[in-house]
């Protein structure tokens, strides 16, 4: 709960959950620096750049693309998504709720003789049980996706990058975060320039 609240009111923007927590960064790094970003013309270049960066030993980075690229997630070293787990939990909860409600009402709380059918007409309870399962699972899927993606987050440092709006058009970006233990302000900037990307720039926090 405490973690939740702190997240809720945190002034500084943390990346999505699941990324490694902040480490002790190099002293000479300016506190307000969030990361260094570079722009790429297409997915292939971006992927290549990511591999390079990983080879270089960087861990905490983010790639921005106009459309999903399957390989990217593994390349960048993010684990598998935890959405499916949440969906499973939601579904099971829904099923239990759906049938439980009907059984409790029709057998325990207020048994009534309805057209001579038994109190526990489980056959008739199936459709509602099913619908509840779907409903809960679906909601779990969306909320899970939002939470795991750390949304809503209308403000994010990367939005200050002038060319970033092209990320939702046809440009590809890679950003190494300042929190990365290997991060050294000057070096990283220079390293980025070697990746073949254009418009390398610091991202202020």
């Amino acid at each position: 709960m405490k973690g939740f609240l702190s997240r809720l009111f945190s002034r500084t923007v943390k990346p999505e959950f699941g990324t490694p927590g902040p480490r002790v960064a190099g002293g000479e790094m300016p506190a307000h620096l969030y990361g260094v970003i570079a722009e790429f013309p297409n997915a292939e270049d971006l992927l290549h750049a990511v591999h390079e960066t990983r080879k270089e030993g960087y861990q905490v980075m983010e790639a921005y693309t106009p459309y999903p690229i399957e390989e990217l997630n593994d390349a960048i070293g993010h684990g598998p998504s935890r959405v499916p787990l949440l969906v499973l939990i939601g579904g099971v909860a829904g099923a239990l709720f759906g049938f439980g409600l009907q059984y409790w009402v029709c057998v325990i709380e207020y048994p009534l003789n309805i057209g001579g059918r038994p109190y526990n007409s489980w056959v008739s309870f199936i459709p509602i049980t099913f619908e509840c399962t779907i409903l809960f699972a679906g909601i779990a899927a969306v909320l899970g996706m939002l939470i795991l993606n750390g949304l809503p987050m209308p403000y994010h440092p990367v939005f200050s990058v002038p060319r970033f709006q092209l990320a939702s058009r046809d440009r590809f970006f890679l950003m190494i975060l300042a929190r990365d233990p290997r991060f050294r302000a000057g070096d990283t900037y220079r390293f980025m320039e070697t990746l073949g990307g254009s418009h390398v720039s610091d991202v202020e926090d």
Binding site: L112, N113, I114, G115, G116, R117, P118
Partner: protein, 976 residues
Amino acid sequence: MKTLDGPNFWRSLEEYAETPEFSEMLGREFPRHASEWDGDEDGVSRRRFLELSGASLALAGLTACVKQPREGLVPYVKQPEDVVPGRPLFFATGFTLSGYATGILVESNTGRPTKVEGNPEHPASLGATDVFAQASILSIYDPDRSQTITKLGQIRTWPAFAEELQARVKTSRALFGDGFRVLTPTVTSPTLAAKLRELLGVLPKARWHQWEPAGRDAARAGARLAFGQPADVRYDFANADVVVSLDADPFTFGPGSLAYARAFARRRRDAATGGAAPPRYYAIESTPSASSTLADHRIPLKPSELHAAAAALLSAVSGAAVSGNAAPDARYPWVAACAKDLKAHAGRALVIPGEHAPAEVHALAHLLNEALSSFGVTVFATDPVESEPVDQLASLSALVADMKAGKVDTLLVLGGNPAFDAPSDLGFVEALQRVTFRARVGLYDDETSQYCQWHVNETHELEAWGDARAFDGTVTILQPLIEPLYGGKSALEVLAAAIGQPAAKGLDLVRAHWQKQHPDGFDAFFRKSLHDGFVAGSALPPKSLQAKGTVPAPPAVPRTGIPGDLEIVFRPDPGLFDGRFANNGWLQEVPKPLTKLTWDNAAHLSAGTAKGLGVKNEDFVRLKVGGATLDAPVWILPSQPDGVVTLHLGHGRTRAGRVGNGTGVNAYRLRAAAGLWTAAASAEKTAGRYEFATSQQHFNMEGRHLVRTATFEEYRRDPEFAHRVEEVPKISMYPGFKYDQHAWGLSVNLSSCTGCNACVVACQAENNIPTVGKDQVRRGREMHWIRIDRYYEGSPENPAAHNQPVMCMHCEQAPCELVCPVGATTHSEEGINEMTYNRCIGTRYCSNNCPYKVRRFNFLDYNKDKHLPVLTLLANPNVTVRQRGVMEKCNYCIQRVNRARMDAEKENRRVRDGEVLTACQQVCPTEALVFGDLNDKTSKVAKLKAEQLDYGMLVELNTRPRTTYLAKLTNPNKDL
């Protein structure tokens, strides 16, 4: 249901063969269009709608949260001992129709009469009543009843009238009452008669005239012809093995009909359970009657042939030469067989002349009964029941003549409505206007009152003291159930005023009269008579009279001379009678027997006649009788004799009230003195179409085994015949429920049901069922919880008719309950299919899924009229008045069941058999409906359901109905 090759049932000629007419008729139903937007039938005009539209949405949201204002609680100041708040009281009194009384018990809830029941002790009721008695409760509260005394439309006080009346009496005294006349309907009331005679004593030359539009002149004249003296006859069907009706309607019309129906039905019941031989009933009639649905043989005849047929029958029975030839009349092949049957049962036979048959036919009937030595066994002659048996037509004609001649200066009209129902050619209304002082005592400010300077608003029967005789002469003392709602005076009190006792109260007058008869121990006598509902031993003793004299000559049948002319037959309306009940919504809406028409009367024709005239249902025919013409819409009626058109009297009122004005056509316009019940008429098709509202749209049984019939012979041969038609699933997916307390059920005997509708109206009264009006009936939204389905079987010219009362079947595996999303209809542990109005949200799914379609829905706010304070008084306090948007249906009178169970439990016992009577059962003259506990093996209903005749409708659907039917048995003559 494997095969559907049942008997070929059908219900109207259109479908007998799916003719173009039929498809055309359905086509007609199609463009039927609603007009809610304009027009007021749903009570909201364009303007009102706009007013309301703003509020409405908010309203809809808030209905649930609005806090009800706190109700008041008003105790008595001094409470009468016998009153226990919350428990009804029953008072014995009488209901009179054209003079004759039926004993009734009226339920009174804290001073409000709310329901009429039959008086089981009373010979004319035996616990049953007819539709009219049931509906009379509504008339008390009718807001259209006249509520003040008026003179030329100006409101006057009672003293003012009394003074003027006495002044008239004083002045005419000088002339020994010359020119002073009183006009009444048929009078059987001893007190009223005495008062009239008292008046005539004061005014020797004054005269008392009587006029009853549906009167019994023919019967009186017939009796004179046969016995040479005035006499009445009454019948005992219990002893009758063979019954021949000469155009009679013994079980649904006339003073004794309830008792007759009961006796006849009992005979059939006994026969079915292996008792005595079943009675046989030949219905020879000029127009189909409700009784004839019980007939074993229906023989349609033109009214003009009735006499000849009767004569032929007589000659065949007695061998007496009739009108020249003793040879059996070739025109009536059935006579021989019928006569043989009669002779075979001489001494156990009975011939009944119809109330509307000509006098000569009555005489013939008496002679037949004489020849069959039925007198003293099945027929009893007595002195006339009426106080003053006169030829009322003559009486009225004389009055009119005198009025025309200016010999009448004072006319007191006590009840009746002659301006509307007098023979059209007498010119009653014109004559009336020549009378200087005209006073009318009546329930309504109606057609007659409009021509009288004085109108005195009459008290309703249930508001006033009085007395009357039943068909057998038994006297009933009528006591009021409630202070006159609109003030008013009874005819008795008006007469008293005329002879100088303006302050006399009805009670005192009645007491005074009976005190004279029973001077000693009067109080005890009077209290007992009131309590019992009749004066013990006041029935008229049978007299041994000899029906002698030669066969009377046939009555002259006037002919129009036009080729292809018709004979017209007038009948009192099954709902409105002679028109007096026109403003009674219940009687307007109750579907008429046989035709199922509501809110209308029609010119009934046989298919052949209709074809001849080139008319279809709902076309107009122009009927001409003498000089008078009338355009009437056509309704084709099977087993109507060819060449006969039947019109029901009583419709077409102009001053009946908001309900009764302008329904149907006024048949009295064609009814001349010469042809009160039948006349020669000509008919031709005229332009225009009419729209009838029938409670049933489609009439073909499609060969489904809904009504199951057999003859007694077949039944004896194959007692299981009723179960040979479908497969009843014995298995169920579900364990089902055990009903180990009570298990309520209902048995309906199709052999007894005459389709008289008493149950329909009784249910309406008991369960606060609203009327919906003609337009809504047309849309198929009538609300009756019981309907009486009617099917025909056999040839379209003269089929057998079957009645089948259908109400909720209380299925143990009810399809309706399963589909209700909010559980508003559930099953009680006593097996009653409960309808919880306050839980219903009105999806109508239950009705869709009900195979019997017995559920009724409040499509609109049909209880608007209940908002009239006076009509709230009518409501049964033990039954919820349903809101708009709520489903409702028969619930086996759950309020009665609960009351009985609670009473029983308070005494720590089970409910006894017969302790719970459903409203329909209680009113049924033929005991066709029996309700009770199926778990109590000794109960009547349990025994009935054990019979082989017992079958359930649509049981192949595995609904397991609690309401089942006893197959219909008939006893036709093999020789026919």
